[in-house]
């Protein structure tokens, strides 16, 4: 256990001392914000003006930031696990293998390190998100929803880091990993349906988004962050209008005509985390000395 704690400390120090890796792990956050400030934001607010009135801006901003938080769980853990690839590329792993260190301790150090980094960076992203919402005229999140948000964040990073750890375990060179990071970082926004509301996309794409586990973190984040703007905007509206709005925006997912409850969203995240960690453990333990 001491060994793993020392490895976790090492991985945290290596990540946070490398300013560029910290910046790049948040790059997706900056790009998404930039995209909305410059292009998509006004268009979306205009589209929802009729439906939501003065609260359109608050609702749309909350929607964007909820999506952003879900993406962060992937991009930041990916940045953190860059250390694992670099250890292989720089042959630092040779030193680990020459010591009486168990594979499980080493893997645990990487996983826990990336998980902690993911949570810390997600909190940073949440701070940025709240500032953005506040600047747009929205309200700061209350304490209870904030705690819920934190819980979802932990689940989201758990699922995200396990997927990323599994993928990263295949890479041996920095270049290949950097390329993969860029591709994943670009695709992730589409896979989680955070650029365009899911309701306006073709049904095949909708299915793809619902299958991708991190989208469920997005849904949970939206349920919490959009609760206030939705309840203000739809104060006098029929329940039908709220339901259809939530469906269009991906606040609630449907399997066919069946609504997926928050519990299902949570179970998807937990299951994803467990399955991918198990896959990673299997992959690491069948790898022989060559």
């Amino acid at each position: 256990m001491t060994v793993m704690i020392n490895l976790i400390k090492r991985n945290l120090k290596l990540f946070f001392r490398d300013r560029t890796s910290v910046f790049f792990s948040l790059l997706a956050v900056f790009i998404i914000i930039g995209l909305y400030v410059l292009f998509l934001g006004n268009m979306m607010v205009k589209n929802f003006k009729e439906l939501l009135g003065d609260n359109a801006r608050f609702a749309v901003d909350s929607w964007v930031m909820a999506g952003l938080l879900s993406v962060t769980s992937i991009t930041t853990t990916m940045g953190a696990l860059g250390t694992m690839v670099e250890d292989k590329a720089k042959k630092i792993s040779k030193d680990f293998s020459s010591a009486p260190l168990k594979r499980s301790q080493l893997a645990g150090g990487y996983i826990m390190g990336s998980f902690i980094i993911g949570v810390i960076m997600s909190i940073a992203a949440l701070v940025i998100a709240e500032i953005y919402i506040l600047a747009g005229g929205g309200k700061l999140i209350a304490l209870m929803p904030l705690l819920k948000l934190f819980g979802v964040m932990v689940l989201s990073v758990f699922a995200g880091s396990s997927m990323v750890f599994f993928i990263t375990s295949f890479f041996k060179s920095n270049n290949a990993f950097a390329t993969a990071s860029t591709i994943i970082g670009t695709l992730i926004g589409f896979l989680t349906g955070i650029y365009v509301p899911i309701g306006v996309l073709p049904s095949a794409v909708q299915t793809a988004i619902k299958i991708f586990p991190i989208s469920h973190a997005g849904a949970l984040f939206r349920q919490i962050m959009m609760d206030v703007p939705i309840s203000i905007a739809f104060k006098n509206a029929p329940a039908q209008a709220v339901t259809s709005f939530k469906q269009t925006m991906g606040v609630v997912f449907y399997a066919g005509s069946k609504e997926l409850s928050p519990l299902i969203n949570i179970l998807v995240l937990i299951a994803t985390g467990i399955v991918f960690y198990m896959l990673a453990v299997i992959k690491i333990s069948i790898k022989k000395r060559d």
Partner: protein, 305 residues
């Protein structure tokens, strides 16, 4: 002295390329053992196998009484390895690096900090222990690598080309550190090198080329067996010397105006010098070098890069 490392019939191939071909050798406890060979001879492959990093195709290795492949963790606890590449973290200080890597051996708090202090003194890194590893000079890094390898007080220290890429002065000081460690603590040192002068300072040398051990012995033994001493005479009168040598049936070659006569050892040159004293303006007796040994054994000059 008991054998602390025993290697028998060791073989390793990468695909069709045979890197190590059925080699045998042993290392005595407490000695400085040099594995001499050109790049690509199979040195690193052999060291990686002994250090449990690579699996051999066949053959047995016993390190500190533990059998490779069966008691690997016990072997890992008995050895410290200085790799060719820098393997510490650039963004951490030397001290942080030593603490992290030291904890791999199950040491905790007080024990660990004592171990770090001891290792950093032994490798002489205390003056820059709080600086990031990435900002150090080549020699300082190498010392830090050695401190890391020493942190758990191993019985055997492996060094893979420890002085390659260092300037001559740093090379010497790193070498002295290694030598002092071995003499002071009785630790066994196993190093690979392609520098002749380093091999000449070892207790025992094994020459490896193309995956085969082509010679082994102490530097003195190797010199005696594979190199010859020679007498260089600088003549006042070339013809007279030549006539004398021909009369007495002594082999010689002429190079740069000097007569070069092989002698079985340097003392045997004396009678000849006495006889020819009036005919020469000067002389030189050169004893065989490790370079000669290597060239005679492998038929090649060591490829330096």
């Amino acid at each position: 002295m008991p054998n602390i490392i025993e290697v028998n019939n060791l073989t390793k191939s990468y695909g069709n390329i045979k890197a190590v071909k059925n080699i045998d050798f042993y290392v005595n406890e407490g000695e400085l053992f040099a594995f001499l060979g050109p790049n690509g001879a199979g040195k690193t492959t052999t060291i990686d196998i002994i250090c449990t990093l690579l699996k051999q195709d066949s053959g047995t290795v016993v390190v500190n009484g533990y059998r490779l492949g069966e008691q690997d963790d016990k072997i890992r606890k008995s050895i410290g390895v200085v790799f060719q590449d820098s393997i510490l973290d650039n963004l951490l200080t030397v001290k942080e690096n030593l603490y992290t890597r030291g904890s791999f051996y199950g040491m905790k708090s007080i024990e660990l900090s004592e171990a770090v202090e001891k290792a950093s003194k032994a490798a002489d890194v205390t003056s820059f222990i709080n600086r990031p590893y990435g900002k150090l000079s080549g020699g300082q890094r190498r010392r830090s690598d050695i401190a890391r390898a020493l942190v758990h007080t191993p019985k055997i220290l492996f060094l893979d080309e420890p002085t390659t890429g260092l300037d001559p002065q740093t090379r010497k000081s790193v070498w002295d550190t290694i030598r002092n460690l071995q003499k002071g603590t009785g630790m066994t040192v196993f190093l690979t090198t392609h520098y002749m002068e380093e091999a000449a300072n070892a207790d025992y040398v094994a020459v490896i080329d193309n995956g085969l051990i082509s010679a082994k012995g102490t530097p003195v033994e190797l010199r005696e067996k594979y190199s010859t001493d020679s007498l260089h005479l600088f003549p006042k009168d070339g013809n007279n010397i030549e006539a004398y040598l021909k009369d007495h049936d002594i082999k010689y070659t002429i190079s740069g105006g000097a007569f070069i006569i092989p002698v079985s050892n340097t003392l045997n040159a004396l009678p000849l010098i006495n006889k020819l004293e009036s005919l020469i303006s000067g002389f030189e007796v050169i004893s065989g070098s490790m370079d000669d040994v290597f060239i005679n054994i492998t038929g090649n000059i060591v490829r330096e890069d």
